[in-house]
């Protein structure tokens, strides 16, 4: 298991390096990246030498340390309009990247030490505060990308039962005569919310796009495209349930799928229709936020070029180091070695490359969840979920913005993008997880 995760991490790192296939020149970015990889591995080794219990015990001091860094960074000179870096010599680190680890640790500690009766307003607020303080600090930088990533911890809370259900219940029960023990919507509030946001964003992004489904004789646009896709998924899911599910699962699953389809479709349709009925200036504001509209930063330009690069990859790609749109020298796609790293990869390796990449990420994420579920200690499990959700967020948003499914917010692709801080923080995150996993039998909690 250890080797597996390690191997995946390495493969990603190696897959990165070919984008800049020259010698090990530390003046160049690929050279630096290898250097960062070495530093990360060294840190990983360090992490491995430290007893896993330390992380739990020192979660709060680490959290405070990172918080202080996040405060400190606000007094640093801005780079690219954001005060996100603390300079160390010629290199800089981003405290926000390490903030993810710190929050993961503290959240795991906080939730794991809660009493059995978890669903109280106080507990939820307590957990939420752990997130909110660094989130506010990050928002001050401002760094929208990292801010969004921090919302991934809500999924962890959801998994651990710390949902906003108590709050919703309190609101509902405050009406006279209503007395409910729990609400389905409240307890599943977070995934429902996120699915809704996801579908809405996609619907909006595709609202002015004509999609040509090869099996349909006509082109559909925006909301209809999403609905058609949802129906496809529903059919596939129903088939799977019919084949593998028990009878009880089947009826319940079918209900959920049909309900989800109706709700999702309705939402998508509603958002599409709602958007079209908005006043022009409101539309523009939303389009600006999503990067749909040409704005001074030229986000549409970036997206357009990134998508052109990805789309031109074809089935098998243009071949290694043959990227013409997204190569660093051509500079058509800005940030092609960091935020838009997916572009050159997709252009060079084509659909076969990207599908393998997605499969590998999926495999890694599921693998982490499997690891999480086999932990005896709640702390370990919660931490593992934090890691899984953070990686998932990065994966989803980064690739999403390369294929026009997510607004352009600058967050790196884990183990892929150039950048010391993200490399180190993701590595440390993984190594801590591996360390915890390797010691899982020692812990009896």
């Amino acid at each position: 298991m250890l080797m597996l995760i390690f191997g995946i991490a390495t493969v990603y790192s190696v897959a990165f390096n070919p984008e800049h296939p020259n010698i090990f020149d530390f003046e160049e970015k690929y050279g630096k990246q290898i250097l960062w990889l070495c530093v990360s591995l060294f840190l990983g080794l360090l992490v491995f030498l430290i007893d896993s219990d330390i992380y739990r015990k020192f979660a709060f001091p680490i959290y405070l340390f990172v918080l202080s860094l996040l405060v400190l960074v606000l007094f640093m000179p801005p780079i690219n309009g954001a005060r996100a870096w603390i300079g160390v010599g010629s290199m800089g680190i981003q405290p926000a990247e390490f903030g993810k680890i710190a929050v993961s640790l503290l959240l795991a500690k906080y939730i794991s030490e809660l009493s059995v009766k978890q669903q109280t307003i106080g507990n939820v607020v307590g957990a939420a505060m752990i997130l909110l303080v660094p989130m506010v600090l990050i928002l001050l930088q401002p760094d929208a990308g990292s801010f969004v990533v921090f919302t991934s911890f809500l999924f962890v809370m959801y998994r651990e039962g710390l949902t906003f259900d108590p709050i919703i219940l309190a609101i509902i029960n405050s009406f006279p005569g209503v007395k409910m023990k729990y609400t389905w919507v409240g307890s599943h509030f977070i995934p429902i919310l996120f699915v809704a946001v996801f579908l809405s964003v996609i619907t909006l992004l595709l609202s002015s796009v004509e999609i040509d489904f090869f099996f349909l004789p006509f082109k559909v646009s925006g909301a209809m495209g999403v609905i058609v896709t949802l129906i496809l998924f529903a059919i596939v899911a129903l088939l799977i349930i019919r084949q593998f599910g028990t009878k009880r699962d089947r009826s319940r699953g079918t209900l959920i799928i049909v309900l989800g389809l109706i709700l999702g479709g309705g939402l998508s349709f509603g958002v599409g229709a709602g958007f079209n009925s908005l006043a022009p200036h409101q539309k523009v504001r939303i389009e600006l936020f999503l990067g749909l509209k040409e704005d001074p930063n030229g986000e549409d330009y970036n997206r357009n070029r990134a998508m052109a690069a990805v789309g031109s990859g074809g089935l098998t790609g243009k071949g290694y180091n043959k990227a013409s749109v997204s190569s660093v020298e051509s500079n058509h796609v800005p940030e092609s070695e960091t935020d838009f790293i997916f572009c050159p990869f997709a252009e060079e390796w084509g659909f076969l490359g990207t599908i393998v990449l997605i499969f590998m990420y999926m495999f890694m994420l599921i693998r982490i969840i499997v690891i999480a579920e086999r932990q005896r200690a709640a702390f370990n499990r919660i931490y593992a979920y934090c890691v899984a959700m953070i990686l998932f967020y990065h994966f989803a948003i980064n690739i999403g913005m390369n294929i026009g499914f997510a607004p352009v917010i600058g967050i790196p692709l884990p183990f892929f993008s150039y950048g010391g801080s993200s490399m180190m923080s993701f590595s440390m995150m993984m190594f801590i997880l591996l360390k915890l996993d390797s010691q899982r039998k020692d812990v009896l909690r």
């Binding site: 039962g161 995934p191 999609i211 749909l292 040409e294 052109a308 690069a309 020298e329 252009e347 990420y361």
Partner: protein, 631 residues
Amino acid sequence: MNFDARKYVIMAFMLLVGGIYSIRLFYMQVVDDTWTLRAQEIAEKRKEITPPRGVIFDRNGKKIVSNRTYYNLMMVEADIKNLDTVAFAKLIGWTREEVRNRFYEIRKGEGTYKNPHTGKTTSNYQKIRKYPFIKELTLEEISRIAPHLENFPGFYEEVTSMRNYPFSNGANILGYLSEVTREEIEQDRFYKPGNNIGRSGIERYYEKELRGVKGIKYVVTSALNNAIESYADGKYDTTARQADPLRLGMDMLIQAYGERLMQNKKGCIVAIEPATGEILAMVSAPSFDPNLLVGKRNISLNYPKLATDKNMPLFPRPLQAEYPPGSIFKLVQSLIGMQEGVIDENSGFPCDKSVVGCHNHPMASNIQAAVQYSCNPYYYAVMRRIIQQNVKKNMFADAEFGLNKWYDYMLSFGLGKSLEADVSGQRPGVIPNSAYYDKWYGHHRWAFSTIRSISIGQGEVKLTPLQMANIAAIIANKGWFYTPHFVKSIGRNGPHPQYKVKHYTKVESKYFPPVIEGMRRVVNEAGGTARMARIDSMIVCGKTGTVQNPHGKDHSVFIAFAPIHKPKIAIAVFVENSGFGGTWAAPIASLMIEKYLRRKIKDKEKEKRILEAKLSNIESSDDEENQNQAD
């Protein structure tokens, strides 16, 4: 409460996203090719290399149209830093406003790109791309500017090729180039904005032959539009190929000489080699230096001046001016009359001045004398016989029949229709037929007496000087002609096939000798009207014309060929508002003939008289001119 089942929700969510992304990627990368096209649009630039235009030689191998290097001042806005507008404007000799307006013009001129996916429109102008700031600078200008360009980052020089005319002759025949219009780009994918196209004359007619083959180099470009590398190692690249040179039948020596002779006069000279139909010279006076219309800058500077000049130097008179031919038309009338059998070589008609005015001369008792004396009443009589052949009982129907018969003869002489020489912009002239007069007078409302002025080349009849010269060539050939044309050969190939087809007139060659004898007498015998066209020890055959002009002095016209046996040159000279044909047009024609056949002029007095003559006040306006154009 057990929340373990929620792991499935999370996993399902992850798989859902992964699945959607996979489908999206499949769609984007494999199914939908618009992104591939967009990527090509962005990164793979077809760099077109426009070759220098084909050069043009004259019949003796002199280069008369070649190419010359010019310089463009390019700019890349993104590289411009702290532009000192005042200093920059001073360097290029503009005002600050002009510099500012030019920036605005460039930005606006690039048009917009419409994204087919989002339907959004963005400007094509990009700060990181290069655009020509000033085009077509000369070496002198660029060498004044270039040393200081290092003070103005974002500006640099680039080389281009443009037309150059070593001789300043033949401007309105050779034509000029100008930038392609949007419509032309849409019609022919060969052209890209900024390319030049032949706008008039030979340049226009032979556009496809002269433009050559563009070289295409596929390069992968960066966002700065710099080529990074050649695409697929240059596998699809083609090299630019300059077009084969055109060789004209034109003799630059007599072309230039003709323009000299015609200085300070209005009119034209057309000389044709009868045996081949090659045009030896085509002079349109007044003319201009073709170098005045080279390049956008020169055109915008000089074209308005030339176009508004009252003497219309841009007007290619030999091709587009339609003049009544006057007495030279009598040659054709004689031929038709004999072919129709209404007269023969020995027919004589009295010089009855009560019908039409004539000058004093002995009575013309045969064709030769009629031509020699250019007797007007004689040709009234001939034309009456041609028109009114008494085939039909009704006089009007008879005239209609006769006129149409006559009209067919005219067509066979290349009159009344465009000759279709290889130059753009030719007028057909006017030869009236029955439909023409029916429109004017009504059906069967006219007969010979109505239309008789056409007998002597006045009235409705109009010819272009090219057609007049062709008549001389036909007579020199005794009844046939090749369509007059400029281009003798294109590279290793001959002229276009249509110029190798002999056109026979409807008059048999046996009827030509009496007319030729008459023409000989015109020049060489006492009593001829063109004694001034005589050349020592060479027999020139010619015919004068004096075209009555209601707006001013008569036009002087003369057509001729020489020598009488195996003619080498057929010529038409038309001098506006100068008087008798024998006084001006005839000596000019003889000088041209002598220059062409002997390369030098013996009779310096004759030459001097012509060169010094200032016949029309070419400064003042001229109604006749305007009327010709209106026709």
